[in-house]
Symmetry: C2
Subunit: 265 residues, 2 copies
C-alpha cells in the first residue's frame, strides 16, 4: 500500500499547495508513482496541476459523501507519474454534511483502504507508492479526514511570526488525532517556506524553529521565488515550468531528503 | 450604531489580519473609535494587538455560544481609540457547537444588536464608530456570522494567481448571504495586498482585477513590505511600530480612501 503523506497547517498561505504539487512532481521524476488528493474546497492543487473545471465532474466530495469510490475519481495529469483526485468549491458543504455521517472522520481512510484492495485485484491500474493530500487552511472535518488517513504529516511553515504562533496549536491537534483517530500518525518534518535571505525575520523564525524542533526540521529550505507563484497560472508545477529556478531546485532537494529519511525508517 | 466592516477571504495568507489591525489603527488616528472583533481561532489579530494569552479568559467564543455578552469581553489595547474582542483556539470548536444552535448564523449579529442597546443606556462606555471583524480563511459558520452582521465587506486580495482564482467563489458566497442572511451586505472594496513592483505577476493580477471590478478596487495598493510582518512580533500594528515605512503609509492612505467613500455614501 502507498505511503500517505499529508500537507497540513491551519495558517493560511504558508505553501501547503505549492509543496504538495512540487513534491509530487519531484518524487515522480525519480520514479515514484504519486496520487495527489485535493481535499481543499479552493481546489488550488487541482488548478496547479492543470485540471480544468470541466474535468471535475466527480471529485473527492463524492468519495467523502459515499456516492463514488476513489478509483472512479482519479484522473491523469500532464505530469508523468502523477495522478490527482480533484476538488471543487462544493466540497465546502462536506463540513456540514459529514457532521452526522457515520465514521465521519474516517471517510477518506475507508476510501483509501477500499482503493488499495481494488488495486490488489489487478484492476489494471498501476499501484501508487505515494499519496499526497493537500489540506485547506483549517482544522475542520476535511483536515481531520486527511490526518486520520495519514502515515505522516509534513508541515509547511512560512518564515513569519503569525505562522510560528499557529504551530503549537497544530501540534496539539496532531497529538489529539494520534490519541484517538490514528495512533500511527507521525510528524515527518517541518519544511521552512518563502525564506527571504534579505530579511532578518526569516532568519529569526528559522533559528527559533530549529532550536525547538531540531531534526524534525528539514535541512532543505524553500526560498521565496516568484517562479513558484507564476507556475500555477500555466497549470504546471514549477519543476516543469522552470526546473532551473531556485524554487524548483529546492523542491527537488526536499524530495531527495524525504526519500532518504523514508529509506532510513 | 457603528459601521460594521468585515475582512474576509477564504484564501489563506492574503492579508486579512494585517489589514484589520492597521486599518483600525489608522481610523483611530483620525478620531474614529474602533472595536476589532477577532473571529479567527488562530487569534492573530489579538496577538498583533498585543493581547497576551492570559488576557483572553473570555472571548468571542463565549459570546457566540451565549455565555457572555459583547460588553463582558471587550478589552482595551495599547492603541488609543482601539479596543478588541479577542479569540483563542477554543473558537475552532464553535463550528461544530453552533451547528444545531438556534439562529446559528446570527449569533454575532444578535450580540452586536444587544451591545448597541446596552451602549444606549449610557453604560459609561463610549460609543464605537467602526467595528472591524477579522475572519478565518474559510467560509464556515464563523465567517457566515461575520457576513450576516456586516454593513460592508472589504476583500484583501494578494496579487497572486491562486488568490485570484478564489475570488469568484467568495463573491458567489456573498450573493448567497445577501439573498438569505443579510440583504444590506455590500462589497465596499477589494484591496490589493503584497504588491511587489519587481515582478510581473503582481502587475498582471492587479490589471486583471481592475478590469473586472473597476471602481470596487481601491486606488490604494498595499506594497509587500517586511516591516508589516515584523510588527506583530512586537505586539504592535505597523503604524505604531514604524509609521514611516511604505506598508504603514499605504494603510494610512487606505483609511483615508475608505473614509472618503463612506462620506460619499
Ligand atoms: N516559496 C515561494 N516563493 C514565492 N511564492 C510562493 C512560494 N510558495 C508559495 N508561493 C505563493 O504564495 C501563495 C501561497 O502559497 P500556497 O497557496 O501554496 O499556500 P497554502 O498554504 O496552500 O494556502 P492556503 O492556506 O490558502 O491553502 C501562492 O500564491 C503561491 O503561489
Ligand atoms: N503587505 C505585506 N507585506 C509583507 N508581509 C505581509 C504583508 N501583509 C501581510 N504580511 C505578512 O504575510 C502573512 C500573511 O498575512 P496575514 O496573516 O495578515 O494574512 P491573513 O489573510 O490574515 O492570513 P490567514 O488566512 O491565515 O488568516 C503574515 O505573516 C503577515 O505578517
Ligand atoms: Mg492551499
Ligand atoms: Mg488572519
Amino acid at each position: 500500500a502507498p505511503r500517505v503523506l499529508v500537507m497540513a497547517n491551519q495558517k493560511g498561505g504558508v505553501g501547503k499547495t505549492t509543496t504538495a504539487i512540487n513534491l509530487a512532481t519531484a518524487l515522480a521524476a525519480v520514479g515514484e508513482r504519486v496520487l495527489i488528493i485535493d481535499i481543499d474546497p479552493q481546489g488550488n492543487a487541482s488548478t496547479g496541476l492543470g485540471i480544468a473545471r470541466t474535468e471535475r465532474q466527480t471529485t473527492i466530495y463524492d468519495v467523502l459523501i459515499g456516492t463514488a469510490r476513489l478509483s472512479d475519481v482519479v484522473i491523469a495529469t500532464k505530469i508523468p507519474g502523477v495522478a490527482v483526485v480533484p476538488s471543487t468549491p462544493d466540497l465546502a458543504g462536506a463540513d456540514l454534511e459529514l457532521l452526522s455521517a457515520p465514521r465521519r472522520n474516517f471517510r477518506l481512510r475507508d476510501a483509501l483502504t477500499g482503493f488499495a484492495a481494488e488495486r490488489g485485484k489487478g484492476a489494471g491500474a498501476e499501484g501508487y507508492t505515494y499519496v499526497l493530500i493537500d489540506c485547506p487552511p483549517s482544522l475542520s472535518v476535511l483536515t481531520m479526514n486527511a490526518l486520520a488517513a495519514a502515515d505522516g504529516l509534513i508541515v509547511p511553515l512560512q518564515c513569519e511570526f503569525f505562522a510560528l504562533e499557529g504551530l503549537s496549536h497544530l501540534l496539539r491537534t496532531v497529538e489529539l488525532v494520534r490519541g484517538s483517530l490514528n495512533p500511527k500518525l507521525e510528524i515527518l518534518g517541518i519544511v521552512l517556506t518563502m525564506f527571504d535571505k534579505r530579511n532578518n525575520l526569516s532568519d529569526q523564525v528559522a533559528a527559533d524553529v530549529r532550536q525547538h524542533f531540531g531534526d524534525k526540521v528539514y535541512r532543505t529550505v524553500i526560498p521565496r521565488n516568484v517562479r513558484l507563484s507564476e507556475a500555477p497560472s500555466h497549470g504546471l508545477p514549477a519543476i516543469l515550468y522552470d526546473h532551473k529556478c531556485p524554487g524548483s531546485q529546492a523542491y527537488i532537494a526536499l524530495a531527495t531528503e524525504i526519500i532518504q529519511r523514508e529509506r532510513a525508517l
